[in-house]
């Protein structure tokens, strides 16, 4: 679905953070070897959500182009697969987590790019979160290699 408004972008961010947090909680239950790191990701997701909301609610005014800031972003391109089939091993879970993170990073970076000149603090918050999630990808990849 094509987005336009800031409200849509914030709701979609929240959806991605919520869904991926549940995904990590699920992984934490299933894979003891990655429990701590998965739970830390889930906790960080909650913080990301707060950061995004604070940026949006802090900066939104009638003087900026809130209803037009995210034109061109299609949410269908960023939907994430969070159902890990039964019987899959730890390395499958890590690969899936990497794919989830890459999708979410691409959403935050693309959304930041289109809104950069229009929404002030929101794209900055998106970029900060994308950076943190890129660090996650490196961690997940090193775990995958180590495993």
């Amino acid at each position: 679905m094509r987005m336009n408004t800031a409200s849509e972008a914030i709701s979609f961010s929240k959806k991605l953070e919520d869904e991926s947090a549940k995904f990590y909680q699920n992984l934490a239950q299933r894979y003891a070897e990655g429990k701590e790191i998965f739970l830390s990701f889930a906790r960080e997701n909650a913080k990301n959500e707060v950061q995004v909301e604070r940026a949006y609610y802090g900066v939104i005014t009638d003087a900026i182009e809130g209803c037009y800031s995210f034109a061109g972003i299609d949410t269908d391109n960023y939907s994430i697969e969070v159902e890990l089939p039964e019987g899959k091993g730890y390395s499958d879970a890590l690969s899936m987590a990497i794919a989830v993170e890459e999708k979410i990073v691409s959403y935050y970076l693309d959304a930041a790019k289109v809104s950069k000149a229009l929404m002030a603090d929101v794209p900055q918050a998106f970029e900060r979160i994308a950076k943190k999630r890129n660090e996650r990808i490196l961690k997940l990849k090193s775990l995958l290699k180590g495993g």
Partner: protein, 496 residues
């Protein structure tokens, strides 16, 4: 994306808030209609003169104690109010969408702007300070102190139901005055919720009062000898012929902000990709019901630039998603009511009769997202081939209508913009600092934008309208507002 939940349930009857109590009015009840669904969501009383008098008496009685309350203690009420407003941010925003029709992003923007006024007013212990000079003559010192004045009336417009009263009330109360607010009878619900929160924040009884209604309430406030000043937002006709005139006759101070006809000047060196969203927000945001809305698009440049630019503008405008503002995908809501829609349709028709051409005619061929009646909806209109002397380029429309004129150069564009009798806001879109400075220097407008579509000053700057857009001396917001709400007392002191 989802349609967000509505906070107003059932059909509540709005009450007045006088002397710290919610009281039923004896006045007739009027329906408050959600314009997107065209259904009644509440009833508001048209209060009587006696009810206004009771509120003013309560405020007058509360004034001596409130002015003796220390500025620090007074602003603690505002700090608490700020916290409560943040806590109820989303609820307050959704109420505005429900009662007014604006999109949820616009409502949240309005809530934020309102809260910023409270934030600035919490600085009163510093902002209200006077000044002094030692030894104006040997052994003699002179100093100025600012003192509150008394009771003020606040008469806001319908288009920003939550924010506009906050242009006045926080500054008035922080400086030690009391207020009687008459919310717009079209959309008073966010004001009611705000007042509930102000009560919870701990303002003493009588300091913050609300009397709902229409002209009777306005007249009673204007006539009352204990009302020391009025803050008003509305049309030029009422601001000049009623509010400003009557305040002059009765010796009240006044801030009367009025109609507008804002020019958006496009230079050929503008950054087109960034300019288009700014123009969509400016002309069609809040469904054009904003005194800072772009109203006339003045394009400077040759035919090739004009045609390319207007193709982009028309394309963007035709794609605007119209519907109920609580649907997050919606970019433009309905007009506040069907009478406004009919009047704007008449303005479009008269513009066409004057010789403009409709590149987009918002009266037809627009699609509403979702299953809502079209009673209050209009699409965006673009009227090309206008000239600066036409009525559509001179008079306020207050709806989603872009009138397009062309200018040979910046000089001509400034001349056209200055030909309107209004002076609320104007903007230039350019990459040239020289053009921008020239525009800023010569434009007869209180608020000037450079690559900004909505030239809304922040709370710590005055909202500076001029010409027929403003009647008074000091403006709302910031330092000017603090001066408005205080009397300057000069003391010359010699100890013998």
């Amino acid at each position: 994306m989802a349609v967000l939940e509505e906070p107003i349930k059932g059909v509540p009857v709005v009450k007045n808030f006088i002397n710290g109590e919610w009281v039923e009015s004896k006045g007739e009840l009027k329906d408050i209609v959600n314009p997107a669904k065209y259904e009644t969501i509440a009833k508001v009383p048209i209060s009587t003169k006696e009810e206004v008098n009771t509120a003013v008496e309560a405020a007058q009685e509360a004034f001596p104690d409130w002015r003796r309350t220390t500025p620090l203690a007074r602003v603690r009420c505002l700090f608490r109010l700020k916290e409560l407003l943040e806590e109820h941010f989303e609820e307050l925003s959704r109420i505005q969408t429900q009662e007014h029709g604006k999109t949820i992003d616009e409502s949240r923007g309005e809530t934020r702007r309102g809260i910023e006024q409270v934030e600035v007013a919490t600085g009163i212990p510093s902002l209200m300070m006077g000044y002094n000079l030692e030894d104006i003559a040997t052994g003699i010192d002179e100093y100025l102190i600012r003192q509150p004045v008394g009771v003020f009336g606040v008469i806001p417009a319908f288009n920003f139901p939550f924010m506009i009263p906050l242009w006045f009330a926080p500054y008035a109360t922080a400086t030690g005055n009391c207020v009687v607010i008459k919310p717009s009878s079209e959309d008073p619900l966010s004001q009611i919720r705000l007042t509930e929160l102000a009560d919870e924040a701990g303002f003493p009884p009588g300091v913050w009062n609300i009397v709902n209604g229409g002209r009777t309430v306005t007249n009673a406030l204007l006539d009352h000898p204990d009302i020391k000043g009025i803050g008003f937002i509305g049309s030029t006709r009422v601001a000049r012929d009623v509010i400003y005139k009557r305040c002059g006759e009765t010796g009240k101070r006044v801030i009367a902000q009025a109609s507008a006809k804002c020019y958006m000047v496009i230079m050929p060196d503008c950054v087109v990709g960034r300019t288009i969203p700014a123009l969509m927000t400016s002309f069609f945001g809040n469904t054009g019901q904003r005194c800072l809305s772009g109203s006339v698009l003045c394009v400077v440049g040759d035919d090739a630039f004009y045609n390319r630019f207007m193709d982009d503008v028309a394309d963007a405008a035709s794609k605007i998603i119209i519907g109920y503002g609580l649907d997050e995908a919606v970019q433009m809501g309905p007009l506040r009511d069907k009478e406004k829609k009919e009047r704007i349709m008449g303005d479009i028709e008269s513009g066409l009769k004057e010789g403009t051409k409709a590149r987009l005619d918002g009266r037809k061929n627009f699609k509403i997202r979702g299953d809502y009646p079209d009673t209050c909806f209009l699409g965006p209109s673009i009227l090309e081939n206008a000239t600066a002397d036409m009525r559509v380029a001179q008079e306020e429309i207050f709806g989603p209508v872009m009138t397009v004129v062309r200018a040979k150069n910046l000089d001509e564009a400034i001349e056209m913009a200055n030909s309107t009798r209004y002076g609320n806001a104007s903007a230039i879109f350019t990459s040239s600092g020289k053009n921008a400075r020239e525009f800023q220097y010569r434009i007869e407008s209180g608020n000037v934008g450079i690559n900004i579509g909505i030239v809304a000053p922040m709370a710590f700057f005055p909202f500076s309208g001029m010409k027929d857009s403003f009647f008074g001396t000091l403006h709302s917001q910031g330092q000017e507002c603090i001066r408005f709400f205080t009397e300057s007392k000069v003391v010359i002191q010699r100890w013998l």
